[in-house]
Amino acid sequence: MPTKTEKDATTGRETTGHEWDGIRELDTPLPKWWLYIFYATIAFAVGYCILYPAIPFISSHTRGILGYTNREALTESTAEAAQQQAKFIDRVHDASLEQIRKDPELLSFAETGGRAAFNENCAPCHRTGGAGAKGYPNLADDDWLWGGTLAAIHQTITHGVRNADPDSRQSQMPRFGADGLLKTAQISDVADYVLTLSGQKAPADAAKRGAQVFAENCAVCHGEKGAGNQEVGAKNLTDGIWLYGGDRATLIDTITNGRAGSMPAWGARLDPTTIKMLAVYVHALGGGQ
């Protein structure tokens, strides 16, 4: 409790009159420099509140006379970034796919841009890094349904697969079982034959019967030896890579019900430069031909 104030002998200052257990408190003023900085911060805060958005209301806030918004600042900085990229974007736009691959600087830019576009647009189906999933081709391996050259990849991305785009990749794996084109036993035999094409085990007599069925029904697209045909997106049946699965049950399912995987035509959704960068990126994922 404040008692009487007194003058301290050493410093010549008044005490505050507070005393606890015999310890009295000196009434030392705040240092001047501290006080002035404190006043300066108050002045700064007032100025800030006038210039910038500051005080929140229930559904809005003060705008500040400078009209600053974070959103606009972001737009500006992205525009600035886009302007810095413009030089490269223009070069990618003007260069052919082959030229991009030959120019280390452009290649590096296109691969980086392609990766960003891929992760945004393609990764939901093809997975990050083009790892693929059942029904969605792995883009990092050396097996291509529609061709793995830069031009073929570019074409596939631009127009897509089995969609309404007039230039899209078109083909159809018939529903041999569901539409009654083949009998159940024939399907079973041809599945056994297809197993042997990729070196898997199957009963020899069934496979022999299946070979006949294959030659009559499947070889048109998949080739006499089952090596596939990229013109029509017919899968190579002799390798170790399967889009839907290479076991007997899946094969029978595929032959019975057909397959008709589809991919959008990205030409309608992305600009030509992005598609070029995507093609270069996918080509460099490991399987480019």
Binding site: T15, T28, D143
Partner: protein
């Protein structure tokens, strides 16, 4: 802001010594003499080095900046004459700091705080600011009188001129500092044409402010209260260390002396307080070696001057050792050893560190390799059943010109390798291929390894590069992943 007051007088109160000492402004008097001349010479040398440094040129070839001393932040490079270091090689800087510290220990154990008194930037700039102050406001007595005068136009004029002069020096100091981080001629042009960046102006402003405050206002308080060095310098100093010493065995008993008085039965000190008046930290050296003493030796000059006047031998205050003093008090002959366990140890550590740094610099690699294994996908199954892994390989070429590197992979049986950027068919991994990296740059390559499926899920593999010209090599151990079974 509470200060405890004891209800009853304590020991301190009885003696009238308060626990708190308010700051007393120091007005060092001008002085002439050997120490002062050495100080001016060191000051001119240090300031010249500092201000001329950024303007020195060094030809490194067209791909490099031509500034002799440059820390280039945007490209993360530092250039010191013929040495170039990259940001992750900052341990060279750590080595330099260790050399600096040990060097300081050695010099301190030999000669006391000569660093503080002569070369420390705080001392050098304070000296420069004091010089400007003296030019404008006059010497000690005039300054004291000026400060005691009531505010007048003349006083305001002098004070304004002094602070303006200080700010100009401070701005030049701050301006020179940022030049070590930019191309000096370009930056000077930008600064004066208002084309420099906010960051550049900000740093000039920051260093101007700190120089102005530390050398103009804080002065000896930096040494006494802020700097850690005086606190532990006593650990380096021993009886045989030279330090600014008042030879009390000669000076005491001190007392006023009138011309013609006998010197019999008294000391040489005439208690004129010249040593106190010139001291930049405002202490009395006659109290003995103390924390506040920066060892500048200006009191030596002041005292010698007085000794000449009273016709007594010089050196009442001098660089001397405590051992000498003890010997002289006993009347013995002083001896001195520069070689002591302490100095030998410091010198040995210093030489070892310098040697290590020289070896490290001489063997500085101009090639570094880092490998990031692709994890998305972990591995790829190829149509012929083989497994392929992808790696992002970064090759740092620290040479100025494009270099060609032979890249290979070892430790993986029957493996094939190809580089996506190379348009080459896969080739035996142990034969490898070549890649080119531009000068002073990092080359990034996607490297693919393929190998027959193995029983083990993970196999070790080592990627290595060799500079085809110089033969320099670097390698990186990583793994090759396959399916679970």
């Amino acid at each position: 802001m509470a200060t405890a007051l004891a209800p009853h007088p304590t020991e301190e109160d009885k003696d009238g010594i308060p626990l708190f000492a308010p700051h007393e402004k120091v007005y060092p008097r001008a002085v002439r003499g050997t120490m002062r001349r050495i100080k001016w010479a060191v000051l001119i040398l240090c300031l010249s080095l500092y201000y001329i440094g950024p303007w020195l040129r060094w030809n490194r070839g067209p791909a490099y900046p031509s500034q002799a001393f440059l820390i280039d932040m945007p490209t993360r490079r530092a250039y010191f004459l013929g040495i170039e270091i990259w940001s992750h090689e900052l341990y060279y800087l750590a080595g330099l700091l260790i050399v600096g510290a040990i060097g300081l220990f050695l010099v301190t154990s030999l000669f006391g705080r000569v660093w503080c008194g002569f070369t420390c930037p705080q001392t050098v700039w304070t000296d420069l600011f004091l010089w400007a102050e003296r030019l404008i406001e006059g010497d000690r007595t005039q300054r004291i009188r000026l400060d005691q005068q009531p505010l007048s136009l003349k006083k305001i004029g002098k004070k304004a001129a002094k602070h303006a002069a200080w700010l100009v020096i401070a701005a030049a100091t701050g301006g020179a500092w940022v030049m070590y981080f930019n191309d000096a001629p370009t930056l000077v042009h930008d600064l004066f044409t208002l084309n420099a960046s906010t960051v550049q102006y900000g740093f000039v402003g920051l260093f101007t402010a700190t120089t102005y405050l530390l050398a103009g206002w804080a002065r000896e308080q930096v040494c006494t209260y802020m700097c850690p060095w005086p606190r532990f310098q006593s650990a380096m100093i021993d009886e045989e260390t030279y330090a600014v010493t008042y030879r009390d065995w000669r000076g005491e008993t001190r007392g006023k002396h009138r011309k013609g008085d006998s010197w019999e039965g008294r000391g040489d000190c005439i208690d004129c307080r010249a040593c106190v008046a010139v001291c930049p930290t405002g202490i009395d050296i006659r109290d003995g070696l103390q924390l506040e003493c920066i060892g500048c030796g200006l009191c030596i000059d002041a005292c010698n001057d007085i000794m000449d006047k009273v016709e007594r031998p010089r050196g009442l205050i001098a660089f001397d050792t405590y051992a000498n003093r003890t010997a002289c008090l006993k009347g013995a002959t002083p001896t001195h050893h520069f070689l002591r366990p302490r100095t030998i140890a410091y010198a040995a550590i210093l030489l070892a560190t310098l040697g290590l740094m020289a070896v490290a610099l001489a063997h500085r690699s101009t090639l570094e390799l880092s490998v990031l294994r692709e994890r998305n996908p972990l591995f790829v199954r190829l149509s012929d059943g083989e497994i392929r892994n992808g790696y992002t390989v970064k090759i740092e070429n620290k040479r100025g010109e494009t270099q060609v590197y032979a890249l290979r992979a070892d430790g993986l049986a029957n493996a094939l390798l190809h580089v996506a950027e190379n348009d080459q068919a896969p080739i035996a991994a142990e034969t490898g291929t070549t890649v080119a990296v531009r000068g002073d740059a990092i080359g990034t390559f996607r490297v693919y390894l393929q190998a027959p499926r193995s029983e083990t899920r993970e196999q070790p593999v080592t990627l290595s590069v060799r500079n085809t010209e110089s033969g320099e090599t670097a390698s990186y151990a990583t793994t090759f992943r396959g399916p679970e079974h």
